[in-house]
Symmetry: C2
Subunit: 218 residues, 2 copies
Amino acid sequence: MTISESKTTVASVSEVIRQKIQGGCYKPHEFIREASVAQELAVSRTPVREALRALVSEGWLEAIPNRGCRVAAWTQQDAREVFDIRLVLEPMAVGLACHRIDADTLNRLDSLCRSMEVLTEKVETRPEVRNQIAALNLEFHQAMVNASGNSRLIGVLESLVRSSLISRNFANYDIGHLRRSMRHHAEILQAVRAGNQEWVENIMRAHLLAARTLHMDA
Amino acid sequence: MTISESKTTVASVSEVIRQKIQGGCYKPHEFIREASVAQELAVSRTPVREALRALVSEGWLEAIPNRGCRVAAWTQQDAREVFDIRLVLEPMAVGLACHRIDADTLNRLDSLCRSMEVLTEKVETRPEVRNQIAALNLEFHQAMVNASGNSRLIGVLESLVRSSLISRNFANYDIGHLRRSMRHHAEILQAVRAGNQEWVENIMRAHLLAARTLHMDA
DNA sequence: TGACTTTATATTGCATGCAATTTTGGATTT
DNA sequence: AAATCCAAAATTGCATGCAATATAAAGTCA
């Protein structure tokens, strides 16, 4: 794990820590010490401090005064909370999007859909494509939400979804579930193309509810 | 303006800057310089930096790399965005709350309602009570949202509402609007007491829509 | 032995100094 | 006079050192 680009040091450090949390390199409730990160990345404690605070406000870590920051633990309760909020905000987002989305974005979503469908049919022989599907799925949802044009909505959903880890985990999906999910995506896209707000809101709700039962019952 | 309590320096500095923004002491788009704040409050630049970054993530300021932070300007677009989101999240919150609210909270809400009603009848002779009403109104909404039990929902709405300034401004309300708003509060409370989710969701939507037309059309 | 105090260590919180970047004012050129 | 360039000032970004605080461990007393 190494510092990637040449933006600010804080951004690079944040990125590294985020990836390490996602990758399971830091475990839930594990404290992340400023000094160790600083030494490991060969920077001073100052940018590390700022990166940690940023990650706290993004929901990746929780801060305990005078004790430091530790990786946020993910409980069933947390999963339910995030799903409950997504269940009202994402339909709202696509509902807004269907009135103002442009052709370029539609094409991009189309291509994401097709890529995911292709990968889906490979999942039984090459299980590792699940991660690629998860990444594309995240892109799809984000592109949809971005098309809503409500910058606060975009920000809220971004932080909810990115920190949730759920969207990176398609492990519970068998081939049937995956295919249904792909059909949902295609239908969401159709409904947006048609500019039919009620349709898109409801198919999005169905999409999320299907996902919820998979994640929560398992 | 002075540092109040003896928690961490960062928290104190944040508090002071927040108040100065609310109070109009810093104007929209005005840059807040680390050095000047540090000197003014007799602390070093380090806690000021951290406070500024916190305020950025709360939506009070916007950060421009290598340029500093400036007070976020509030546009009609921003107001619309916040209202649109509140319009789906607050009904959801009270809908959840009506199934799990406890007697103490209900009493507290009751007392807030009565206080606001009393103040409302004084508003024509003593205009300065508008600020008190606004403060109690904020408390009322927050107590309601807190009763939802969804910590992320609470956090999202807190940051949306607190940074919006709109809820602190009852200037556009004539006595008729104020009385209607108070009736809404009472009815929300009744509906929550009755545990009637659909009722409380809809009266909350009506409450917010009434407020929106006042704020947006003005 | 068990509870309490004390001391040592680890860690965050804050201050200060220097480097890097951006802005600004004036000098220079066309 | 307008535009361009350059240098000085202002400002953020980062590093380092010290102080304050919390944790852990050792020691003391009943």
